[in-house]
Amino acid sequence: MATASRYLPQSHRLRLAILAAVAISLFVPLIARLWYLQVIKETAFVERAADNTTETIIELAPRGRILDAKGRVLVDNRASILVTIDKEEMASVPVDDLQELFYDLATEISRSGNLTKVTEIESAYRSNRYGPFAEVPVVQDISEELQIYLAEYSYKFPGVNTTVTTVRDYPYGSLAAHILGYVGLLSEDEISSVALKAKTYLANDEIGKSGIELFYEDALRGTPGRKVVTVDKFNNILEINEEIPAKAGSDVQLTIDIDLQALAEQELARGLSTARQQPTKFEEEGVVIFNAPAGAMVVMDPRDGKILAMASHPTFDPELFVSGISEDDFDDLTDPGNFLPLLNRAIQGTYPPGSTFKPFTAYAALDTGLIGSRGILGIDDPFYDEGVFLIPSCEGGTCRFQNAGEAAYGDVDLRLALTYSSDVYFYNLAASFDILPGFDLESVQVAAKYFGYGSRTGVTLAGEGSGRIPTPASRRDAYRENPDAFLTGSWLTGDTLNTSIGQGDVLATPLQIANSYAALVNGGTLYAPNLGQRILDPITGETEVEFAPRVLKEIFLPDAFSDPILEGLAAVTTWRSEIGTEGTAYSAFKDFPHEEWPVSGKTGTSEKQVENALIADYGLFVGWGPNPDPEYVAVVILEEAGFGGQVAAPVIRNYFEMIARNSVPAYLSQAEKDQIAREEATKASFNTNNEIDQPNEEDGVS
């Protein structure tokens, strides 16, 4: 067979060969490229294909609920419609149209009742916490009508989507807001700190920011579900490869009883408003106005350290945080001019405890023997209180100390000194600690620290204050740090005197005060106060974790110490002598059912030092009952409100009277209130109908 055609000249064979060579050479780059893609880079492309075709869908798990001691739901979840913007899709919208789109969107959302500014949408959209392909949450909680509208007019709003999410719901409104706290979007710091947690977090997730929501975050947080699926280009699911269902977070049951909580909040607010009605005082130093802007109240069970109620005024509405709080609202809540509504004064506010501190000074005197056989006087020995105390051989600073209003109580023993709240009696004790050899200068401080002052109580809430118990050493340090704030860096006898009556540099949180009294009245067991009672399975309601009382320490408190102190304090509410001297809270507890529900208490009136301003005293009262085995210890502090016996004691009296008379009103949720209102409206209309019928008959008669 001929290899080539007969007609073909040599030159053409060459040309054919060139063409063939060109054709063959075409295969070289193709095969080289195939080798590169399929053999050298195979792994990388397999991964990219898997990225393309497999998708992990995170199914959000609802957060656990927060219940009160009786199982009523304080914080629930509800479905909420969220408007999101698909950044990827939105990126294709021309910049000029974007502004108009945001404007239209804000208009539509606002028209539906959820007032929204264009700038809010824009700043959410531009927030750099989301990647370029993310769905950015813009506005929470829109109506169903608006959701339908947005779906219908989706061509007008490209990239704008809606999804249903769950948000926190507060059936009892702002009740216990400070305890419950609030949730919010993960901050950048939190994103890194939650990375190692067992329950996964996504960038859009919410996390407890304060209160119980923060403290029990790990329990409340649901475990998100995961679904690994194979998808096509259009994200249609072709196959489910792996599925882990979402698990709702656990419920947290609190020791709080909402009836007691609501009553505490009401009485606190009432006490403040009563205090504000006192006439302005004109003193030598200036005008004193009873502003009574803020206060706190704590109610505990002294038998196990459970907190039954904890109120802080002013309060806030946690609902504000549900859709993501606006900047203006947040500024309002953290503005000192609004008295910091977000501050939980019960654990974060530190106050001079004033006279409520005296029982611990008394304890110090008994414990060290200053009162007793080796000391300066016996328990029952009288000391003559002439209203003024002069420090013996005074060396500087203030040397003359007096009772409030220089009241002279005459002969007082330890019990009466507590009952009348004689400062002079305690000044005498303090001066003796300071002067007498064989006694520790810091005896009062040591005793106060036994009872938990100066350190955090360990309550199950974040952000607790530790208060302050001043000592010569701490004074020295403070002076070194800020020499302008003190006259001298050395500790003077006057400082010991001030400390002994809970003034000077002594600071305590209302909870510390409540907790110290709980130990005093329960026989000396200092508990770390509990707010959480148990953690419950959200589905079955079974207890997962039960929180036992946490004993911090057993204080040496024999009856010989506690009896005289408690007797003196029992008389605060009941004692009135023939000559008219009375316990500091006698009038506040007048007509209290003392027989059925014996109550004790201690008043306190403390001076808060504020630079360049004269402000009213802080009124305090600590009460407990029913004696002899108290079930309740209650502390109230009213800022700038005046005498503790006058303004604070009535708050606790009213509170305890309700408990004593077993008439604490059941606090209803908004839904329950609405239900009752509806029923009454039906009843009322039924009655009116009857009334309308009758005149008709009478018409006939007349």
């Binding site: 073909l8 063959i24 780059p29 193709l30 490229r33 280009k233 072709l238």
Partner: protein, 384 residues
Amino acid sequence: MRTSRERKNLNLNPTGDPWSPWLHVDIALVLSSVALAVIGAFMVFSATRGNDPALYDRSYFNRQLLFLGVGVVAMASAAYFPYRRIRDWVPAVFWSGMFLLLLVLTPLGVERNGTKAWFEFGSFQLQPSEICKIAYIFMLANYLERFNGRLDIRPLGNALLLGLIPIGLILLETDVGTALVFIAITMGMLLVAGAQTKHILVLTVVGIILSALVWSSGVLQEYQQDRLTSFIDPASSQTEAAYQQTQAQIAIGSGGLTGQGFGQGQQTRGEFVPEQHTDFIFSVIGEEFGFVGSVIVLALFAIVMWRCMRTARKSPDLLGTLICCGVMTLFAFQMFQSVGMTLGIMPITGIPIPFVSYGGSSAISSFVGVGLVLNIHMRRYQVV
């Protein structure tokens, strides 16, 4: 006297038996081109069947099998009539093809992906530029043959003018890819027809200058320019073209050495590569059959091209040689361009892979091309 012998042996069949040429059919060429078409049909099935086994879409597969059948018949027909006789019909076919190219620019034509290149009849489309390829090859061979392998400047100019007609019309469709195919065919055939080296060099330079002028003239839309350049650095581009090439490479790369198996390609199943049943069908081959399968497909093309070149050498006359070279160039260029663009080393031009890609016009024109080569092969002993 040569002419009288020609006239005398018009049948040009030494044995006188009209079926004897069929004894010389190039089996290898037939088998390899049909093999490519069968593989292509199954790839089309894999690319278009959808994901629900109960509802597999067989329509594309069935239609492609139909095209394969029609293509084989067309191949046989193209081989049946002696090619030197077909020559008489060629001008009529060519000019009707040109007329269709003109017609497709009218509102009768249908636009797809920015290119107006189709007539639509129900669910079938006709792409006249595909059919014109073969007519053009024959027409050009017919003209070039008479210069006995030495082209002076005038015949060269005439040939180029002839080529400008379909190329111009196709550029008016804005089908740059097909126009490039015509240019490649012209170049290949001119080379073999005896164009002088200096002319070829000048033509190449002029071609480059013209391309640059067209590029900067603004005739091309932005997306068209992008399609032509995105392969250089697809990662930097956010366009559909870059996406398409990136996805195609992911599909091919994830196929690895031996592929994921027929019907198992995740990229293919997810329909991540646009046009994966037509111009980008090589991504399906690469993903499902891997390097081995891809090389086998390329090897089949190599066989087809080899057989064309072999026939070109054995052809009894220059006409046959030129036709074979034209067809070979057509296959080589389309294969290289289309596979290369899928692999990311060539720009996106929207050219189908002969035999493999879905599409009736392409399948039929490819088989007609093979038929002509067979025709020449069968009649290689006939005395001219």
